[in-house]
């Protein structure tokens, strides 16, 4: 079986059912949380655009923040505005450029390192999202997808700092297809993914692998539980690529877990504290 066949298996899903499912779960989650709505950060990329549309279908009580920096491409803002008009959220959105805060922090940290500053940008956005969420009594909706979460391609406590991840069990390629089904503009659906934390950054450039290939490898390795040899043979790719994806997943495990607590007592939080989230 080749790459295309694996992708077909991932993409051949019932998108109407998925949309209804996610929208219903958003409604239920909101109701059970006792909060009044959702805040979402919209970049104009595929993930945040899809998430914004889904959120708008779940409730009228949502607020969209656009938080560009100097490294945000002009096209992304145009795309973000097209999504805002699509979900009729002009009155429920706000533009907050973050460069002044970024500059303040980079001065205090005394660095121009693009990775450090890039992560600072993500965490400033998280801070703004939570400030608005608290002000409005809303929840922060994350926009991460399964590919990013597995590869660790997100900033810990930045875009990773959210209350829930409605598209977190859909691979990037599935999210793109979902975006097309939801009627998002083709430019959003097709443009290369990028966190835009610095100019010219693209996800696939940074990861060194296309999302199509990454998704196929992630699926075969962690859902079908195949070995790297089997996957390299099945997809007709060099085994080193499979191992690279595997390494990204393994080294980012800490990002997907709560912080480790060193056990002393008879009952420690985390490993021996398995209460449901909705505990009341």
């Amino acid at each position: 079986m080749g790459l295309q066949q694996v992708l077909n298996r991932l993409l051949d899903v019932n998108y109407n059912v998925i949309v209804n499912y996610i929208v219903n779960r958003l409604k239920e989650y909101l109701e059970e949380s006792g909060k009044e709505g959702f805040v979402v950060g919209l970049s104009g990329g595929i993930d945040s655009s899809v998430t914004t549309v889904l959120v708008s279908k779940a409730t009228n009580n949502f607020f969209v923040l656009l938080m560009p920096s100097s490294s945000t491409p002009k096209e992304d803002m145009e795309d973000a505005y097209s999504v805002i008009s699509m979900v009729k959220a002009k009155e429920k959105s706000k533009l907050i450029p973050i460069d002044d805060v970024v500059n303040d922090i980079s001065k205090k940290v005394e660095t121009q390192d693009k990775l450090v500053i890039g992560n600072v940008k993500a965490r400033i956005r998280m801070t703004l999202l939570y400030a608005f969420a608290q002000k409005l009594n809303y929840l922060v909706v994350g926009t991460g997808d399964k590919s990013e979460l597995l590869l660790g391609y997100f900033t810990k406590y930045g875009d990773g700092g959210v209350d829930l991840l409605p598209i977190g069990d859909l691979y990037k390629t599935q999210v793109r297809r979902l975006g097309a089904e939801l009627g998002l503009p083709e430019r959003i659906v097709k443009k290369p993914s990028s966190p835009a934390l610095w100019e010219g950054q693209t996800a696939e450039g940074e990861l060194g692998i296309s999302y199509e290939l990454a998704d196929a490898i992630l699926y075969l390795r962690f859902e079908e539980m195949k070995t790297s040899e089997e996957i390299s043979q099945e997809l007709g790719v060099d085994r080193s690529l499979v191992l690279k994806v595997e390494r990204l997943v393994k080294t980012s495990q800490h990002k997907r877990l709560p912080p480790e607590i060193f056990r002393l007592s008879g009952r420690a939080i985390n490993s021996d504290w398995r209460y449901p989230r909705g505990w009341s």
């Binding site: 298996r9 051949d12 899903v13 019932n14 059912v17 998925i18 209804n20 499912y21 219903n24 779960r25 239920e28 989650y29 504290w273 398995r274 209460y275 449901p276 989230r277 909705g278 505990w279 009341s280």
Partner: protein, 269 residues
Amino acid sequence: MVLKVELAQIRPKLGDIEFNLSKHVEIIETSSADCVVFPELSLSGYVLRDLVYEVYRDLKKASQKIADKAKCAIFGTIDEVMPGVLRNSAGVAIEGKLDFVYKFFLPTYGLFEERRYFQPGNPLKDLKVFSYRGFKFGVAICEDAWHPEPIEALALLGAEVVFIPSASPMRRLSTRLAIEDQWEALLKAHSIMHGIWSAFVNAVGSQEEEYFWGGSMIVNPLGVVIARAQKFEEARLTSLIDREDIRRARYFSSFRDHNRDFHRAMWNI
């Protein structure tokens, strides 16, 4: 001889026994059926994890309240069989009398972690067939329907209908819902092999990350799905179960040829 059954495909609130109990009572009091059947752990919700230890005492009282109200009801609860030893159970309330059926196979793989909390039932002691209005029924809880033995044993003990209270979470959603097809295949196989009615009652709605898909169904002794509840929504599915269908299926089946030597052979595996 006909029995009217209602499958109450409810959305339990995780850990909220009071809410769940009032939902059970409301359904029981408004049902036109002889027997009302609820999903697995319907009084508490399924994804309890360590909350098990916080709720099981309240479940005892709630179970008794159902027994006080129901003519015939089967519901999901937890029974403490000795101090600190808990079992995933179905309460069987018949005209004021309360008994329990225990789950024999406790899924502990993937998203399931039942062995962390529960003790499995013992087939040598805990296989039970009940009788209501002249109809014999058995109860097999969820995972027990994924093995041939529990339902085979119930059928051989005389069960004419097997109720299967379940908490089946959605997974592997593709163009179709694989888990629905799998359940349908299992129910049909049990019904066809034993010439019995099978009634699968699933929970519905979200509990933690999981989502219970509903889709409760009743399969007749010929292996035909004769009633089906909607997916993803609460539902009350009422249907008639007729003994004549059991006879008709068994005239032309080899259910009667139970060969004990297979079980003797399996004992030594």
